[in-house]
Amino acid sequence: MFSDLPLLSLVIWTPIIGGVLVLFFSKDDQANSARWISLAFSVLTFVLAIPLYTMFDTTTHQMQFAEMVPWISTFDVNYHLGVDGISMPLILLTAFTTVIVVIAGWEIIQYKTAQYMAAFLIMNGLMIGVFSSLDAILFYVYWEAMLIPMFLIIGVWGGPNRIYATIKFFLYTFLGSVFMLVALIYMYTQSGSFEILDFHGLRLSLNEQILIFIAFLLAFAVKVPMFPVHTWLPDAHVEAPTGGSVILAAIMLKLGTYGFVRFSLPITPDASNSLDWLMIALSLIAVVYIAFVALVQQDMKKLIAYSSISHMGFVTLGFFIVYTIIENTGTTQGVALGINGALVQMISHGFVSGALFLCVGVMYDRMHSRQISDYGGVVNTMPIFASFMVFFAMANAGLPGTSAFVGEFMVILSSFKANFWIAFAAATTLIFGAAYTLWMVKRVVFGDVVNENVKKLTDVNNREFLFLALLAVAVLGLGLWPAPLLDVMNATVDHLVIQITQSKI
């Protein structure tokens, strides 16, 4: 019954319209209306996104739910939308996370509630726009537009050092994207179209490919973020309000890795092949070096931010391990395993890191501190919360049965096919990931009550229980039965493997 509706447009524009609508309720005494309207629109968006999954044809790699309207005909720019097995799960993740963020900000945000909610709703639409754009300019517009609400969220509702953090965030990400625009325009001059799918088929020399690859790398590496352009993330997280951190960790980082898999790999396979050593090296630095850095953080949000970077290393590793596997084994067996693992890791990381930031938020709302040393023995006063925290910490440590295990497991298995030592370095996350996460848990959650402030803590309320429980179910569900997600992705990824292993020279 939904088949005639322009579903993708609906999921993009419903939250944006909702966001604009909420702005009309920006007086202080209308805060409650703003909240309920935001909730309604975020839930509606999620509900509208569900048919994308249920009606998805898992047998094809073709773009589905496609919509095409000419937009700027002079330059052949179209409003062209469509999703495949890679982007569709990310859209669901985005819509789901926005619902969580709206619930999480409910009573916490008292200052300019309507604007806060509106920013998230609009960002929701824009992010979904990024994932569903099939036109490079449309993609670019969403990609850049999305920075604005995030900029405001950190800048207006952020912590004391928010100005430094926002400027760092903005300059970093903006600088990267400019190079991407250049690459996109260059490819337009070559292909005469801004269709991303046309770019996929575009024949390019190795030199062209390498330049384009580097331009994309600058844009996407900042977003992921990859070493050494990662330092904006801990700062942004620390200053961002909880909801901002959740969206940042759960969705924004994924835009970078999505870029790799939508642009870099299929458009410049030969460059990816010749520069994969760099990508693998940077990924492993993320996994190992960043894990060490995470270990010594004193600020919980910084710790989780570094943990995010470390876990995102698995995504880039899974994408770029491809060529080494083929070189080592002579077959493409194991290639799809790595890419699928990376994609699962993207979804899972959205749940787990989002949940951990929410956990920190729950404590921050009570104690107004993120310093590990201010806590200790939280389990005594917040037993239910502590159960959630330990659960998500275990997920972050990649415990089997949680979603985080699935992706890391797949990437480690496939990287073994490439090289023993790459797998070795990647698998150290088993030790380091557990070390930094559980050491934090030991210092924050366990132990006797350390001070009066902890003694006064109250356990989670119904609202907090709701969003933590929703995420826990998601983490556990995907961990115990990842098949539904994999079924959606398999056809697309198998096609991607063909694309990225065919030389374009």
Binding site: K168, P228, T231, W232, Y289, F292, V293, A294, L295, V296, T329, Q333, G334, V335, A336, L337, N340, G377, V379, N380, M394, A397, L399, P400, G401, F405, V406, F409, M410, I412, L413, S415, F416, K417, F420, A423, F424, A427, T428, L430, I431, F432, A434, A435, L438, W439, K442, V445, F446, G447, D448, W481, P482, A483, L485, L486, D487, M489, N490, V493
Partner: protein, 652 residues
């Protein structure tokens, strides 16, 4: 039967969920009932399975429960393999678990976390059952890590105790070091076999015996050796083999029932089970078997020595567990997998008994665990006393108690083994017998005999523990006496394990030994003529002489050999080394990466440095824009002149 298998794992899971999530609603009694019934169902059904598979000799079951995921042409599944090995493990796990569940009702009765505790131990039972029933590496790893999780939760059960939350973090991380190797082993299996299903892997394995893998550039190592050693690293973590043993003694910070269940009888034997399960792979690599053998022998001997200097009743038993796990590992290394599993089974009974009896003593002593403050407890706790005595003689290997049969089988197996390192291992395990007897009876005499050293207040309250505590003791004492006699012939020599365990003909030491025995009596007759039996008696005698007859002597020995004493008290320095080198080292590296890499280089030099440079340049360029019209006019004139000159020169 498929529904039976499913019910075996689900019953404790349901118990755990109900006790965990609805603990408040159903109350304390509700929680212990639901958990106990869940495990009881598992136990009864395990008996059914045991009868079905082993007594009736039904064909093994190998089937899928559900498909976890399909990707890249590989099916990752959750499924059960129920063969003879699984059936034995099911019985061990559910029986000990059931006993511990009953015992817990008494042991934890005053604890605030009563429901939580039941939830955890039922969850543990579920995880352990998933581990032993798995038919593939994925689920094995799931069970493997899940029991680790529950172990973590239970060691830190009393989360206010700093020592407990230190111990649980340590336990988890050390286990993760093992799992790290284990996961790489699984990755190697997937790479070469393209499946994680046991049956398919074992079937394909012989054809791969000669494959090599280049781990270090320029070296070609046997693939099977690499896979087996990587998997064994996992076993070293879980089954606490040196040098990954350091977590087990500290795990005693947890409540005693879990020391019995998890850290003695079941979880720590997961590594032993796993290697036995992988026997078709291990049989293809003598190098790996030698590694297993030597690590096991070192653990058996060196950890036993440490038991001598411990004064905490639980730690004595804990080091004894380490040492006995070493024995089981030795059996695996000698290809006597059946003997390893046999010792696992008898050990589960008598070690659970010893721990629970120790717990009973601890309850009576008001949570005092120092054996120097006990003495003559036999007067106050007759049931506990007899049970502890039974457990101890079973442990040291006095016929016809259970431990005699299994330990003797291991020692003979090593004796007959021709594998590299077997001679060394033989010496270690034989000396270990004396040590085992010595530390066991040192503890036994100090607790139950000798003069009363507890304070008056404690003495007034000393009494036998309630029925919920003593009944499990008695029920565990029965197999501690009988299990050896009952199982020795079928398990070791009559092929109870069928095809579940594969031994290459040239490694078949148990087959060689079996030729000497006609039945239980001949086994015993043979055993009492051998060295180990007399060493065990000598150990008991020495303990009696030193701690009952001449109690002043130990102090004298200690002062004479202070260096040795200090070495043992410091546990060979493993903890100090790990704390300094690994924990301290990781923090140090982390700090320097963070301060030098992120803060100084990237942020300080590159990011903020760029910002500063731009700012500095701007501040310089700003001076050009002075605001005076004649400055601009001057610049324009210079520019014009320059351009004109340029054009003039360019003109043809």
């Amino acid at each position: 039967m498929e529904n039976v298998y499913l019910a075996i794992v689900l019953a404790p899971l349901i118990g755990a969920i109900v006790a965990g999530f609805f603990g408040k609603t159903i109350g304390r009694a509700g929680a212990h009932w639901v958990a106990n019934i869940g495990v009881a169902i598992s136990f009864v059904l395990s008996l059914v399975v045991f009868k079905h598979i082993i007594i009736d000799g039904a064909a093994p079951f190998d089937g899928t429960v559900y498909t976890w995921m399909v990707t890249d042409g590989i099916r990752f599944q959750v499924g059960f393999l129920i063969d003879e090995l699984t059936a034995v493990m099911l019985l061990v796990v559910t029986f000990v678990s059931f006993m511990v569940h009953i015992y817990t009702i008494g042991y934890m009765q005053d604890d605030d976390g009563y429901q939580r505790f039941f939830s955890y131990i039922s969850l543990f039972t579920f995880s352990m059952l998933m581990l032993v029933m798995s038919n593939n590496f994925l689920q094995l790893f799931f069970g493997w890590e899940a029991v680790g999780l529950v172990s973590y939760l239970l060691i830190g059960f009393w989360y206010k105790k700093e020592s407990a939350i230190y111990a649980n973090l340590k336990a988890f991380l050390v286990n993760r070091v093992g799992d790290f190797g284990f996961l790489l082993g699984i990755a190697a299996v997937l790479m070469y076999f393209n499946t994680l299903d046991y049956a398919e892997v074992f079937q394909a394995a012989p054809a791969m015996a000669n494959l090599t893998i280049e781990v270090l550039p320029g070296t070609q190592w046997s693939l099977m050796t690499v896979i087996c050693i990587l998997l064994f690293i996992g076993a070293m973590g879980k089954s606490a083999q040196m040098p990954l043993h350091v977590w087990l003694p500290d795990s005693m910070e947890g409540p005693t029932p879990i020391s019995a269940l998890i850290h003695a009888a079941t979880m720590v034997t997961a590594g032993i089970f796993m290697v036995a399960r992988m026997s078709p792979l291990y049989e293809l690599s003598e190098t790996a078997l030698s590694v297993v053998l030597i690590i096991g022998a070192l653990t058996a001997f060196l950890m036993g020595l440490l038991g001598i200097v411990q004064n905490d009743i639980k730690r004595v038993v804990a080091y004894s567990t380490l040492s006995q796990l070493g024995y089981m590992t030795v059996a695996l290394g000698a290809s006597a997998y059946a003997a390893g599993i046999f010792h696992l089974l008898t050990h589960a009974a008598f070690k659970a008994l010893l721990f629970l009896a120790a717990g009973s003593v601890i309850i009576a002593m008001h949570h005092e665990q120092d054996i120097r403050k006990m003495g003559n407890m036999k007067k106050y706790m007759p049931v506990t006393w007899i049970c502890m005595l039974i457990g101890s003689v079973a442990l040291i290997g006095v016929p016809p108690f259970a431990g005699f049969f299994s330990k003797d089988a291991i020692i003979s197996a090593v004796h007959h083994s021709h594998i590299w390192g077997a001679g060394f291992a033989y010496i270690m395990v034989v000396l270990g017998v004396f040590i085992t007897a010595f530390y066991s009876f040192r503890m036994y005499f100090l607790v139950f005999h000798t003069q009363e050293r507890m304070d008056e207040h404690t003495k007034e309250h000393l009494r036998e523990s309630p029925k919920v505590v003593t009944v499990p003791l008695i029920l565990l004492a029965i197999p501690s006496v009988l299990a050896g006699m009952f199982f020795v012939m079928p398990m070791l020599f009559e092929g109870l394990f069928g095809n579940a365990i594969h031994v290459a003909p040239e490694h078949n030491v148990l087959g060689e030994i079996g030729e000497h025995y006609t039945g239980v009596m001949s086994y015993i007759a043979h055993g009492v003529l051998e060295l180990p039996f007399w060493l065990a008696l000598a150990g008991v005698g020495s303990a009696w002489y030193l701690y009952v007859k001449r109690p002043e002597l130990p102090e004298m020995f200690k002062n004479k050999m202070l260096w040795l004493y200090n070495l043992l008290v410091r546990k060979y320095g493993f903890d100090e080394f790990n704390d300094f080198f690994f924990a301290g080292g990781a923090r140090g590296i982390g700090k320097s990466f963070w301060n030098i890499g992120d803060v100084k280089l990237i942020d300080g030099l590159l990011v903020n440095g760029t910002a500063r440079t731009v700012g500095w340049l701007a501040s310089k360029f700003r001076h050009i824009q002075t605001g005076y019209l004649y400055h601009y006019a001057f610049a324009m004139i210079i520019g014009l002149v320059g351009l004109v000159l340029l054009f003039v020169n360019q003109a043809p």
